[in-house]
């Protein structure tokens, strides 16, 4: 018993006294050594502290209800990231070994490997006897399979039905109504401003639907031949969709002092295509390539404005194949 205890004691003592034998050989250093930088370490700690403070501040701002907290949120998160960024740059520039190493660029080409790859591919096809025929067959099959895989893309939309682009909601006799659905009365149309009108009872989210209505002195009108009756009492309607890039014609230029200011015009705010309402919507400035389509008007017995037919041309942006009028 005592011997056992003694043996245990000796073993414990030896364990306590045991020191690892010194390494025979230290492996060579890989990373270059450098001097300690206690002040940089202190700064690093300070930066981490600031970042944590910002993070906590964010949570606090988030938790308490402030009426407009976006700026504070941004400030907290932004500064948190900024402190962290500074901490890491400090770490990279002051605290880790500042060493430059060099390495060989990889060889531009490895001819042996290239030859091997070519060999593998070519030798794998050794057994073919009708190589050209097979190539043609593979190509044909590839084409057929691709056609089959691509065909469902036609379901994306009515891509062959370009007639959908010609459709307009305007018919002879359809009333012009305003935003609220109230019919436009000829007597209410002033020469001082312009009006947006829609076809009564038709969907409005359609490039062909909205029209601008303006009133000019009938003496001023120089409409193209055949449109003499389209502007009763000098009231004109044009498609509100620019023929250039489909923005709404949202500006009406009306000179307040005619002798020195440019003439009246309908202007698109996107690329400043400018159309003359007096001459049938012809382009007088800007990139548009064709005039604004005009909608013929008539005034019914109640004094309301009605369409007297359809547009003079395609409303909306041009596309290949459209009539250039």
């Amino acid at each position: 018993m005592i011997r056992k205890a003694l043996a245990l004691g000796v073993a414990l003592l030896r364990l306590w006294l045991w020191r690892p034998s010194p390494r025979v050989e230290e492996p060579p250093r890989i990373v270059a050594p450098g001097e300690p930088a206690p002040r940089a370490e202190l700064l690093l700690l300070a930066l981490l502290g600031c970042a944590s403070a910002c993070a906590v501040a964010f949570v606090v701002v988030y938790a308490v209800d402030l009426p407009r907290p976006t700026q504070l949120f941004g400030l907290c998160l932004g500064l948190m990231f900024a402190f962290l960024a500074s901490a890491l740059v400090l770490l990279g520039k002051r605290l880790v070994p500042d060493e430059e190493i060099e390495e060989d660029y990889p060889a531009p080409e490895r001819e042996h490997a290239q030859e091997d790859v070519i060999g593998i591919v070519e030798q794998s096809g050794d057994r073919f006897t009708r190589r050209r025929l097979l190539k043609v067959a593979a190509l044909g099959t590839g084409g057929a399979v691709s056609a089959a895989l691509v065909a469902p893309a036609v379901s994306f939309g009515p891509l062959f039905h370009t007639s959908a682009l010609d459709r307009t909601p305007w018919r002879r006799g359809r009333r012009l109504v305003d935003d609220a659905g109230k019919p436009l009365r000829a007597a209410d149309i002033s020469t001082e401003t312009f009006y947006t009108a829609y076809p009564e009872g038709a969907p409005r989210e359609d490039l062909a639907a909205p029209v601008v209505v303006v009133r000019l002195d009938p003496e001023e009108l120089r409409l193209p031949a055949g449109r003499e009756s389209w502007a009763p009492r000098g009231i004109l309607a044009y498609s509100k969709t620019c023929t250039h890039a489909a923005c709404a014609i949202a500006l009406y230029r009306k000179p307040t002092f005619a002798p020195t200011q440019p003439g009246r015009a309908l202007v698109c705010p996107c690329h400043y295509s400018t159309f003359d309402p007096a001459t049938g919507g012809t382009v007088i400035f800007g990139p548009a390539g064709r005039p604004l389509p005009q909608l013929p008007l008539q005034i019914d017995g109640d004094g309301n404005l009605r369409a007297a037919g359809n547009y003079s041309g395609l409303p909306g942006p041009s596309w290949w194949g459209v009539r250039h009028r």
């Binding site: 932004g78 960024a85 062959f160 923005c247 990139p287 548009a288």
Partner: protein, 472 residues
Amino acid sequence: MIRATVRFLDSRAGAAPLLKKALRYVFPDHWSFLLGEVALYSFLVLVATGVYLTFFFEPSTTQTIYDGSYAPLRGQQVSEAYRSVLDLSLERKAGLLIRQTHHWAADVFIVSIVLHLIRVFFTGAFRKPRDLVYYAGLGMLMLALLEGYIGYSLVDDLLSGMGLAIGYSVGMALPFVGANLMLAIFDGPFPGSSSFWPRMYVAHVLLLPLLIGGLLAVHLLGIVARHHTQFRAKPRQTERKVVGLPAFPGYAPRSIGLALAVAAVLFLLGGLVQINPVWLWGPYHVSQGTNGAQPDWYLGWLIGALRLMPSFDVTIGSYTLVPNPFWGGVGFPLAVFGLLAAWPWLERKVTRDRGAHNLLDRPRDAPWRTAIGVGILTWVFLVFLFGSSDRVYVFFGLSYEGQLWVYRVLVWVVPVVAAGIAHRVCVELRAGEHVERMRALAETEAARERALGPLGATEPPPGAPRPARRGP
């Protein structure tokens, strides 16, 4: 801890040799090399903030009546998409911060890509063996432009709706296929069917990010496989040896620091600098438009080109073949990207230099490349500048018509002049360096003569130190 982790990774994945290589990968140092990294880190911020936004956005044009907290719009007919963005911005805590940070990140993303492209072009970094990396980069830039455009179009506010109408018209203007393509994409004439918004959405949050991510992988792997380029700033830096900081421990903290700095700037912008306050624009309806509409900066060159075009459609008889928006919206960007894409090939053809290059040129080392690059850059920049001419009219009172005519001349004249000046500057700088080199040579020789006396001067100096080319 470290030992156990490394042992685990090596025994399970055989990762030790790879890790060792990765940790000691060499990054040559120059400030301009950070531009690409800024783009990468903005992309990460974009993905992170974008994922957050998907939890609140509803990609639907179903019309509804707005009844949220923003009084001026209450009672108006708006789309679910627009309503969800308003709710996210005005009702959700931190929603506006994330949305604005996302928008700013998109702008910064494309700025840094463009600056990176300029750096790569003028230093000849696109040359073999990194041309594949260059093409992947060009592809990412194109996708990023489209991604940004679709991103702000999704909101369905008045401005984005006008932008979408312009995009539709530009698409319609493609000869022979435009109308059909647009009918397919929009599922009918503009503004399209109810399927169109989910299509844009899936393109914005899945397809385009995946494509950008895929090209990013090609871009980064391509760089790692051939290593980074470097300037010849030190004599040790040659075509065969790359010198710089190891990825670990020297470069990693700096690069992660840069990532965090990018995040810092983006969140500060997102929190403090308002961007695209969509509640002020109101909802989009086909019949509505507003003056002073400006797209995000990276589409400025396209709006400028669309506005610069003179009024004409290409017609056959009385039928249209090529509508006007084609030139500004398709032709112009196609020309710019075509030139950029053809450049490595063109340069190989002209210089007959088919070799691999690991050392970068300074812009002056390739005067013709620099001259043509400056020319293209000036061309695009002037068109971009014209995109803001309506604002210039409002702020400075310069007539819009007058500016239009001046720019129509300037965009062709100034690039040529700028290219000429750039070429001359490069040539002169190089001549100056030659003089410096000669003088240094003469001075060492003179010093040697003085040391040896008049008799020793007959033979040329054996090891006259050739001064190394300085870095930029």
